[in-house]
Symmetry: C2
Subunit: 322 residues, 2 copies
């Protein structure tokens, strides 16, 4: 039995799973059991919390665990040390993989949570068959990972892919992370909510206000709901938001020259209206766009399961490596 | 005999050279002859111009050429087709490698000019011994290339590395290339000149005005000259410029996670005063800078010869591949 765990800001999602012989198929991960528990709020109870979760899946399955992999937000190095995580403000250089290995008595891999999601989309989802793609997750923040020549691009220390923190508005206000004007301030659900509230304050978006119950309650989710109804004001907000997404993706195309861009994360659940707008805007932000192949934008296929499915794949790697 | 050619905006620099058995040494390229001629101004005379240059080096050397490589600014794909070049406004999909191969009767490789410079710095210069580095060239524009796990990062179509065109000021004025607020508008010699003229217009930089002969004649070169004299106003301009360089480099660190950054191009001739300021500013633009290894900034070592030396290395590759 393999265990994959995806640690989010509020909940941990874990699966007991087995892998097909050929992982590069949509059904590569067979999920036997699934559990959701609240995310421990401090580093000292994190190891015990994950251990209890794994043991409960062992009990469900009636079998021993041969490999575990964890996906967690933040800077995780190649040895599974968590240097920084937005979900664990008190963590500093937590050797999570080593501590879990000791607690569980089996091989453990710890990855950035978007890394596990990108692995899943690459093997079983929207990145299948594509050797060079950028994956972005538009959620509360913005994350990105890259496949290059068929391999995950990790960087020198395992920290590659923090495109959400590239500066797109050098005179912009400081973000939560301390840098002025990072892309994630504009391309996240929070960025979408800000655009929508600005429209609502101007009086031009009555349906958004009605759905949210007040101008200041308008959020990215409100826009998603109104777009689904075809509300014109919400679609106008989406036009502006798509441009804010496209400007960062265009920078990534300039830098990385991918064949495809996979867009996931909660905001991507808006679906085709967002995808089409981003794809249409992208060329404006790419140098020489007129003389190079267009870069298709595709929606992620695995939804909120991507992270935990990719973790199960990595748990298989852990079990094999021993 | 191998021939390397570096095609610049005004001149073509070419060398007849031979390679040492071990290329990863500072003296790997032995330059036998060197020629500089004006750059042909249109695509239809480019092939003939390069052919004449190669033939003249053959005459100098008294031997036949076995391989040629060209570095040229712009988007060059992996087959040596030039899709766009700022030096050749009338070029559109010019199959430069294929045409030169026909004209010269020997193997020819065509590369982006910063690619050849990065190859030279990687093998013989400031990138030696480093498997993951970013090279940037701060000149009239800003270019970048990356070495990843010891290999040049080319991207899906060979166009990777155009970080000069990433958006750093989304509300900024449109640049020559059509995109608003690209990094190269701020981190280039032109960007440096703009900062300096702003200081001069305010009356706070008398030495810059004196050196240039007038406020509007102040340029990046004027700053370089005044910095060499230790002029305080020029050093203050350099502080601001270093921040503009660092913000883009910080984004590249967030995205690529390199071990080292090599800074070349004409502006880098300012040297240590620029290098030290950029290194000091860099951390402000990197997510989690406090918990990750610092990224050293080093100056390129091969100066204006980098491009043509790297072209000679690629000419050796061309000769071997046949």
């Amino acid at each position: 039995m393999l265990v994959g765990v995806d640690i989010g800001g509020t909940k941990m999602l874990a699966i007991a799973a087995s892998l097909a012989a050929d992982i590069d198929t949509p059904d590569a991960v067979k999920v036997d059991h699934e559990r959701r528990v609240p995310t421990p709020k401090s580093a000292d109870v994190m190891v015990a919390g994950i251990e209890a979760l794994v043991r409960s899946l062992e009990a469900d399955s009636g079998g021993g665990v041969s490999g575990v992999a964890i996906g967690i937000a933040g800077l995780v190095d190649t040895l599974g040390v968590v240097h920084y995580s937005p979900h664990l403000p008190d963590v500093h250089q937590l050797a999570l993989a080593a501590e879990l290995r000791k607690a569980l008595g089996c091989p453990v891999i710890v990855e950035n949570d978007l890394t596990t999601a990108a692995i899943a989309e690459a093997r079983m989802g929207a990145g299948r068959g594509c050797r060079n793609f950028v994956m972005v997750a538009l959620g509360t923040g913005v994350g990105s990972k890259y496949y290059v020549d068929g391999e995950l691009f990790r960087g020198a220390h395992g920290f590659a892919g923090e495109a959400g923190h590239m500066t797109v508005d050098r005179d912009g206000p400081r973000h939560l992370t301390g840098q002025p004007g990072p892309w994630e301030a504009f391309a996240s659900g929070l960025g979408l909510g800000e655009l929508a509230r600005a429209a609502a304050r101007g009086g031009g978006a009555p349906r958004l206000v009605e759905l949210a119950g007040g101008v200041e309650a308008v959020s990215g989710q409100t826009v998603a709901a109104a777009v689904a109804e075809g509300d014109a004001a919400a679609l106008a907000v989406l036009d502006d938001f798509a441009e804010q997404v496209a400007l960062g993706l265009g920078s990534l195309v300039n830098i990385l020259d991918p064949e495809r861009i996979v867009v996931g994360g909660g905001v991507s659940e808006i679906g085709e209206p967002l995808r089409a707008r981003v794809e249409a805007a992208l060329g404006r932000w790419i140098v020489g766009a007129a003389v190079r192949p267009p870069v298709p934008i595709v929606l992620a296929q695995l939804g909120e399961m991507a992270g935990v499915l990719g973790a199960a794949v990595r748990a298989g790697d852990a079990a094999r490596a021993g």
